[in-house]
């Protein structure tokens, strides 16, 4: 595996939640580097900062202190608009509870991600064609017109993966993507995740699944807001 440079890097990353006397120190100085194309798992007990780290890396939240670099660019000082542009073009998110827009079809959910990327202006026809290709990739072309509530959990998550790939991002951030699935669906979803990783994407997964963690090229353990086990 050729990992030429770190696509993601954090320096002294801290996150403090709350105000006044009630404060939670979610991250206490996390320094990590994730090489381009690495299959990375973040593990650790619940409530110890895994999702916070993922949100900071993805630009969904801003750190209290420290820096996050995406492709060498410090994103901590960027405006909300520029952060949104980075999320649209460079990062794809997959959530535990799928987070599909319930009033849109599977195809339209993927098209929405394309619509929100200001860097690429696609016609409606081009959007549809590309979204159909992505649905085919996750084996759900026959469910293009189905609303999320008409799909099983595994199918919804596969649509969610297709949506994350809509703008051909370099990085895929997944927060417990199989945490809400049965064993069969979990197996299917993981197969698609591995397939996506093989296309050269950097995949970072927050997981409690030990067997998945064992397959990681890079394993990070977050405990009490610190990165304890960093195995490059």
């Amino acid at each position: 595996m050729d990992k030429e440079y770190s696509i993601i890097k954090t320096e002294g990353l801290e996150k403090l939640y709350g105000k006044g006397a009630v404060k939670t120190h979610a991250l206490k100085g996390v320094d990590i580097e994730i090489p381009t194309g690495a299959f990375t798992c973040i593990t650790g007990p619940s409530g110890h900062g895994k999702s916070t780290l993922l949100n900071l890396i993805g630009g969904l939240d801003k750190p209290t202190a420290g820096k996050v670099f995406i492709g060498g660019v410090d994103i901590t000082g960027l405006s909300n608009g520029k952060l949104a542009a980075i999320r649209a073009s460079k990062i794809g998110f997959v959530f535990q509870f799928f987070n599909l827009l319930q009033n849109l079809t599977a195809l339209e959910n993927i098209q929405t991600a394309m619509m929100l990327n200001p860097a690429i202006k696609l016609t409606s026809k081009a959007q549809k064609e590309k979204a159909a290709e992505l649905l085919e990739l996750v084996g759900l072309l026959n469910k293009a017109d189905a609303k999320p509530y008409e799909l099983s959990g595994g199918q919804q998550q596969r649509v969610s993966i297709a949506r994350a790939l809509a703008n051909n991002p370099d990085i895929l951030l997944m927060d417990e993507p199989t945490g809400n699935l049965d064993t069969e669906s979990e197996k299917e979803v993981l197969e698609h995740i591995f397939a996506v990783h093989k296309t050269g994407k950097t995949v970072i997964i927050v997981t409690h699944n030990d067997s998945l963690a064992k397959k990681a090229e890079l394993l990070l353990e977050i405990r009490d807001g610190r990165c304890l086990n960093y195995t490059p």
Binding site: N55, G58, L60, D61, N80, G81, A84, A85, R87, A88, S89, F93, F95, N99, L100, L101, Q102, N103, L104, E108, Q111, T112, A113, M114, M115, L116, N117, P118, S124, Q127, R163, N167
Partner: protein
């Protein structure tokens, strides 16, 4: 996929809420259109009625108040009266044609009615009337009535029938052709007959006057005032007084319409705020996918604007329908001073456009705060919600 399609999907996903919110703004706009259209119409109807009087000026009792002036314009009875002798004295003024009127209230076929005592021959010539059916009075003391065409229609009266006035039966000998004025809603009898029936011997209500040369109208006024203690008002002056009253009624109607609109605006704010709270996760998803604050703002604002546009259109239609049904009730039950003012509804393109624009602008303004709230949500706060 584009923002408008996304907005459409958002609006129609909860059909019940969509319909009720739309009803809120539609009802507000309907009140706005109905009240304004009736108000505007009152003005134009009063203008038309004043024109139909066919007089250059009116001669009224000295102490007549503005409400009685309005009654003259709208064809109602007035509470004051003056002696018939005043009319006889004023006929001495050259180049002025004057006719007297004695208006009294009565009831014909259980409907409140106005009976006007006139000098038949002089009034027929002055008004340039034509007959639709039957004949006009043959003498100045004929015990009979001639009615306006709308009067006959609303009371289902035909020539040859009799009406009872103050216990006396009078035959209907004729129906006037349409005049487009109050005369259409009035019953006429010779002056002496009305004076006798209502115990008003020697009295009249007011006089209409027409001059040959309008440029000398002030001179005629002076000549009249030298002869008698009366009040003289040109048609325009009379109209101005009446319109000032209608204007204040209109202001009240506008105020009521304004309150209805404010209530509708709060309905939109409430709906949109509820939508923002309910859709926090969705907002978070859009943010995670790269949606900018401006995009989120736009989505919610357009949703709000659509409520305004649709609500405005539905409201305009409903408003006109309401005004069509409400006009007769207002005519029947309205304020005394407005009785006789037909509050008919007519479609005014300017009002239609104003209503739709007002509805749209109010909705956009109502949507600003919720849209701003939605766009200020941090992505992580929104996506973690629920």
């Amino acid at each position: 996929m584009n923002i408008l399609k996304l907005v459409a999907r958002n609006l129609f996903r909860k059909k019940g809420r969509f319909v009720f919110t739309l009803l809120g703004i539609s009802i507000g706009m309907a009140s706005f259109v109905a009240l304004l259209s009736m108000g505007e119409n009152m003005q134009s109807v009063v203008k038309a009625q004043a024109e139909s009087l066919g007089a250059s000026f009116m001669i009224m009792p000295e102490n007549i108040c503005i409400y009685n002036q309005m009654a003259i314009v709208t064809g109602e009875t007035i509470s004051e009266s003056m002696e018939y002798k005043v009319f006889e004295d004023l006929t001495a003024v050259n180049d002025v044609t004057i006719i007297p009127h004695l208006t009294q209230k009565t009831s014909i076929k259980d409907k409140p009615s106005v009976v006007a005592g006139i000098l038949p021959r002089e009034t027929y010539a002055f008004k340039v009337w034509e007959m639709n059916e039957g004949v006009f009075f043959e003498s100045d003391d004929q015990n009979a009535v001639v009615v306006g065409i709308d009067f006959a229609e609303t009371r289902n009266l035909r020539v040859g029938e009799t009406v009872t006035v103050k216990g006396e039966q009078l035959p209907v000998i004729g129906i006037l052709a349409k005049t487009q004025g109050n005369d259409d809603m009035t019953m006429f009898a010779p002056l002496t007959v009305v004076q006798r029936l209502f115990n008003k011997d020697g009295y009249i209500s007011y006089m209409s006057a027409r001059v040959k040369d309008m440029s000398k109208i002030e001179a005629y006024e002076d000549a009249i005032l030298k002869i008698a203690n009366v009040q003289v008002a040109t048609n325009d002056k009379l109209l101005e007084s009446v319109l000032s009253i209608i204007g204040s009624v209109n202001s009240t109607l506008r105020l009521i319409a304004g309150v209805a609109l404010i209530a509708a605006a709060f309905g939109i704010i409430n709906t949109m705020m509820t939508a923002v709270y309910e859709r926090r996760r969705e907002i978070g998803i859009l943010c995670a996918l790269g949606g900018r604050a401006g995009t989120i703002f736009k989505v919610f604002l357009i949703e709000s604007g659509v409520y305004g546009l649709l609500g405005g259109c539905v409201g305009v239609v409903a408003g006109y329908v309401v005004s069509v049904f409400a006009a007769p009730i207002i005519n029947r039950e309205g304020l005394d001073m407005l009785k006789g003012v037909s509050a008919e509804a007519s479609i005014d393109i300017k009002l239609v456009l104003t209503a739709v624009i007002v509805s749209f602008v109010i909705s956009i303004l109502s949507g600003l705060y919720p849209a701003l709230k939605a766009s200020k949500l941090t992505p992580v706060e929104a996506v973690s919600y629920g």
